[in-house]
């Protein structure tokens, strides 16, 4: 299974990146996880000509080619970071590769709550009509106190958390397989990739 893991921050040091790197190794026998960064994407500014910046196209191509996407988000001010929102806006405004793409949301934060509010926002965002990602229902993974969560080799220290992550990942793998079977007959399948906020009608909501 080919998956893309999106590091939801432009910070140099990120425990969300660490989490994805751990998942990459830990689930290596079940999947190939390609880790993508958003630090080099330009800030979204709604260009009138809808030109896709090269870095956005590259990210979009990787998502298109993947069987599923894992978003690893920090929490800034009860929501997702502006940098991640900007990346999502580029994708929704230009290439729309997330339509019908199975998505798992995970997040790490140094506080106790482990990005619970940011994840709730991200779920709502990814369900917007111009994104229409297929978020795996009832599954998420939240890692609190993340600065203390990894050992020097970058492995998760708490075995209970490893178990939680295993369950979330297995549920996601099943969901990806299931979605693959369901989708060709789905009504979403021929979703148009042309989009403008102007054209969104109530019907689409």
């Amino acid at each position: 299974m080919k998956l893309v893991g999106l590091v939801g921050t432009n910070a140099t040091h990120s425990t969300n990146r660490q989490l994805l790197q751990y998942m990459q190794r830990h689930f290596a026998n079940q999947s190939t996880l390609t880790i993508c960064e958003i630090a080099d994407l330009p800030a979204f500014n709604e260009p009138a000509d809808r030109t896709v910046p090269a870095a956005v196209q590259e990210l979009s191509d990787k998502i298109e080619a993947a069987d599923g996407v894992i978003f690893a988000t920090p929490e800034y001010d009860h929501s997702i970071p502006a940098a991640l929102k900007s990346a999502i806006e580029w994708l929704s405004y230009t290439t729309r590769p997330l339509i019908n793409k199975p998505v798992l949301i995970v997040g790490a934060s140094n506080g106790a709550l482990g990005t619970s509010r940011a994840q709730a926002h991200l779920r709502q965002i990814l369900e917007a009509p111009e994104l229409k990602a297929l978020i795996v229902p009832n599954v998420s993974f939240m890692l609190g106190h993340s600065l203390q969560a990894f050992d020097e080799q970058g492995a998760l220290i708490d075995q209970a958390k490893v178990g939680e992550l295993d369950n979330a990942f297995n549920a996601f793998v099943n969901f990806v397989t299931l979605a693959d079977k369901l989708l060709p007959s789905s009504q979403f399948f021929n979703q148009t990739k042309q989009f403008s906020w102007k054209q969104i009608t109530d019907g689409e909501d």
């Binding site: 921050t9 432009n10 910070a11 140099t12 040091h13 630090a39 800030a43 979204f44 500014n45 709604e46 009138a48 800034y76 001010d77 009860h78 929501s79 997702i80 970071p81 502006a82 940098a83 929102k85 900007s86 999502i88 806006e89 929704s92 509010r117 926002h121 709502q124 965002i125 990814l126 369900e127 917007a128 111009e130 994104l131 050992d151 020097e152 080799q153 906020w197 102007k198 969104i200 009608t201 109530d202 909501d205």
Partner: protein
């Protein structure tokens, strides 16, 4: 009422901007609404702080000054646009202008939803602790189908919509007035008494006693015994003073001592809490803004000295001893520079003293190896000295044949070791070694520097001769008391007692010249005032640039790479200021590509003296797999390269006996570090190995082998030059270490009189340089203990030259 309006998008066309423009006009008679544009706001990045940039500062200041903020948000993907989120992140990171600020949310969108979901997200975001705005509840103004909402004049077409907006805005004005009252600080009232609290300082815990009367903070006493003396002193003096003077906790941390500053502030906050008051009220309470008008401050002196470290204070003391005036300018709040961070021992060959000590195993072997170096590899200017040294060594070895023998040393050995130690090739194949005349000057005069320091009151511990890390030979004169601070304490007192002036927080900006002559300096003082110094001579003693990673990277020709996030053992003040000042008046540079890494630094802070820092004959260095990987007696470069090859992180293993040989620590500090998880301790090697996640069997095998080598006096694996203690007495310790930037050998080109030279090799009249700011001596690698020898020797020489060349003539 003054309000700020922010349209939450950077798009070229925006209905939200249109809505705010309408409100601005429509409510003109009730409030002044100023619109701020998001166009130039950079995307928030916590790794690239731009809080000080003009665009972010503009938002910060405008919002601080306003009575309230109106945010008009579009809805992108069911949430607020990234552009709006980005400014909110900037305004909740280092700056918090929205804290306690009344906010009204409005929104316009194409869809009939009119930004409803984005508004809910925005409410939650504004409620986050870092933002902490006071958002008006209810009165949600949602403008759906915004494309049809405005007429050609930009007015809202539907009168019902305008009526609702009117009522929302009226309610907001009332809300803003009431919310403002929430921000008025409560009158504080304490339960009088003295409260014992513990704050966290740079090196661990700081016990404090805070005395409070009914309505005042009266006294703050801090037990500073665990702190590195000299580094944080000014924090202990100034922070309590500012807290008491202003009766506020809103005081700025002191640069270079921010952990300690914040520790003191937090300690007082704890006491206030225990006394039944709310410390947050005092944290918001700024004292009256500094109103001092920038002024020009003009000073005339004989010799101006840039930098109040060991070299600068030495030069000042020498000038004062000659009965002349000395002015020292220091950009940091405290004196001492890097010298207060030094391990203490300074190199000087003193055979009469050293010969009272027995040689230790391996030293004779080191001498034999040195004497057998092929003369063809010795550079010509050093050859005569080398041959003479060989004869000295031959005599010594014959004389002590078959005995343990005494510790040998001579000026020539110090000179040749400095030369050989500094000989390096860079990545481009260029060879470098110490300039003979400068190395001779250093090694000939180092002992006089020790004697001079003694004459002004520095006491040395004559009972032991130590070898600082990377020194190659035991010739370290260790001061009594507090390591590097022992020198600074005495020098500072001498300068103050003898009429010298030390100006701290005075940052020299440029050297002034007239007719090719240096005539003084221009500096910025603590209140931003201009300081104009007229001097007959200027001595640059401002240190190197090991704390300036960009400058290191720019000049580097030696290391394959220098990481952006590399730590430094240096004071953050070491940013190459003197080198920049000198080059601007035409000074030549030498050896700039060569910098030194300290292999044995704290992985988190770059600090040297955390954990157990013991003499190298007692080190046992193991990698993350629990195996030795290098000759622990090797040069710093060998240790650094070996560490990098082994994944940078490694451990120093010690037992209870080795622990006793550690520099600059106490049992209390050790216990604190063990508790904090920055030092590891266990009753068996196997347990120790488990704590640091290495294979117990591997570590046990490594130590068993090492102990056998100590017994045999021979290390067949890595050929460690000298051993002392075995690792055998529980408890055992592991100190984590990583290389950090430590010293910059390159710098201003000087002659033996410390006169700064230009590219043509001529002196720049009136300009001198001493210490790490100058280059040419240590070349590719500085021996441990040689920098202290350098600063005290060339600090004295610079002052002597300045006096002879420039001051005594009139």
């Amino acid at each position: 009422m003054k309000l700020i309006g922010i349209a939450g998008t950077n798009a070229a066309h925006s209905f939200n901007r249109q809505l705010l423009t309408f409100m601005q006009r429509h409510f003109e008679s009730q409030a002044e609404i100023e619109l701020l544009s998001l166009d130039d706001v950079p995307l928030f990045n916590e790794s690239n702080d731009q809080s000080d940039s003009p665009v972010i500062q503009r938002f910060n200041q405008k919002i601080e000054a306003a009575d309230g903020v109106i945010i008009a948000t579009p809805e992108h993907n069911h949430s607020i646009p990234s552009a709006l989120k980005s400014i909110l992140e900037w305004l909740s990171f280092k700056l918090h202008p929205l804290d306690g600020k009344p906010v009204m949310i409005v929104g316009a969108a194409y869809s009939v939803q009119g930004s409803s979901r984005a508004q809910l997200h925005l409410r939650q975001i504004l409620d986050a602790p870092g933002v902490n705005a006071i958002v008006m509840p209810g009165s949600e103004f949602l403008l759906g189908r915004a494309q049809d909402a405005f007429d050609d004049q930009g007015n809202l077409k539907v009168s019902g919509t305008v009526d609702f907006l009117d009522s929302c805005f009226a309610k907001f004005q009332k809300f803003a007035r009431i919310a403002a009252e929430l921000n008025v600080p409560d009158a504080v009232s304490y339960q009088p008494g003295t409260y014992d609290v513990t704050a966290v300082g740079h090196n661990g815990e700081l016990p404090m006693a805070v005395t409070l009367s009914k309505d005042r903070i009266e006294k703050i006493d801090i037990d500073t015994s665990t702190e590195t003396e000299g580094i944080a002193d000014v924090a202990f003096e100034r922070i309590p003073k500012e807290i008491i003077d202003g009766q506020t906790l809103a005081v700025d941390a002191i640069s270079g001592a921010s952990i300690t500053s914040n520790g003191v502030i937090n300690g007082v906050a704890q006491a206030i809490k225990q006394a039944g008051a709310n410390p947050d009220a005092l944290k918001k309470q700024r004292t009256t803004a500094k109103t001092t008008e920038p002024a020009v401050h003009e000073i005339t002196t004989d010799v101006a000295i840039v930098g109040a470290g060991g070299a600068g204070l030495t030069a000042a003391a020498k000038v004062l001893q000659a009965g002349k005036r000395a002015l020292v300018l220091e950009k940091f709040p405290s004196v001492g520079g890097n010298t207060v961070r030094a391990g203490g021992p300074m190199n000087a060959a003193d055979p009469d003293w050293q010969s009272q000590f027995d040689a230790i195993p391996g030293e004779k072997h080191t001498l034999q190896a040195l004497a057998s170096i092929d003369e063809a590899t010795i550079d010509p200017e050093y050859l005569a000295d080398f041959q003479q040294l060989k004869a000295e060594i031959k005599r010594y070895l014959e004389q002590t044949d078959g005995q343990t023998g005494y510790l040998f040393d001579s000026k020539l050995l110090h000179r040749i070791q400095t030369y050989l130690g500094g000989k390096r090739r860079d990545l481009k194949g260029h060879k470098i070694y110490g300039q003979y005349d400068l190395v001779k000057e250093l090694t000939d005069n180092a002992l006089d520097s020790v004697k001079w320091l003694e004459s002004i009151g520095v006491q040395f511990d004559k009972s032991q001769v130590t070898m600082p890390v990377g020194a190659i030979w035991r010739r370290g004169h260790k001061p009594m008391g507090d390591l590097g601070f022992a020198y600074i304490k005495t020098l500072k007192k001498f300068v103050n007692d003898n009429g010298g002036t030390i100006m701290t927080e005075t940052d020299v900006q440029q050297l002034t010249t007239s007719d090719g002559q240096i005539t003084g300096v221009l500096a910025n003082g603590p209140q931003g005032e201009e300081v104009v110094v007229h001097a007959k001579a200027v001595i640059l003693a401002s240190g190197g640039f090991a704390a300036n990673t960009k400058m290191l990277q720019r000049y580097n020709t030696y290391w394959t790479a220098i990481d952006d996030d590399i730590k430094t053992t240096n004071s953050p003040a070491m940013t190459g200021d003197g080198i920049k000042l000198g080059t601007r008046v035409g000074a030549d540079l030498v050896g700039m590509g060569f910098s030194q890494m300290m292999p044995v630094s704290d992985p988190e802070t770059g600090e040297l003296f955390s954990g157990l820092q013991v003499p190298p004959q007692n080190y046992v260095m193991v990698n993350q797999q629990g195996r030795r990987f290098v000759n622990e007696y090797g040069s710093r470069d060998e240790l650094t390269q070996a560490a990098i090859d082994n994944g940078s992180l490694f451990y120093l293993i010690a037992d209870d006996e080795i622990k006793k040989t550690a520099y600059n620590t106490t049992q209390e500090k050790i216990d604190q570090q063990v508790a904090a998880g920055t030092l590891f301790r266990a009753d068996s090697l196997a347990d120790l190995a488990k704590q640091i996640k290495m294979d117990p069997a591997a570590l046990e095998q490594t130590i068993a082998d090492y102990n056998r080598y100590v017994d045999a006096g021979d290390d067949p694996e890595f050929h460690k030059n000298a051993f002392d203690l075995k690792v055998q007495v529980a408890p055992f310790y592991a100190t984590p270490r990583k290389p950090a930037t430590h010293h910059t050998m390159g710098g201003l080109k000087i002659d033996t009189g410390a006169r700064v030279l230009n590219a043509g090799g001529q002196t720049i009249n009136g300009l001198y340089a001493a210490g790490e700011v100058a280059g040419g001596i240590h070349a590719g690698n500085r021996l441990g203990g040689n920098s202290l020898a350098d600063i005290f020797t060339f600090g004295r020489i610079a002052a002597e030259s300045a006096l002879t060349d420039r001051v005594s003539e009139d």
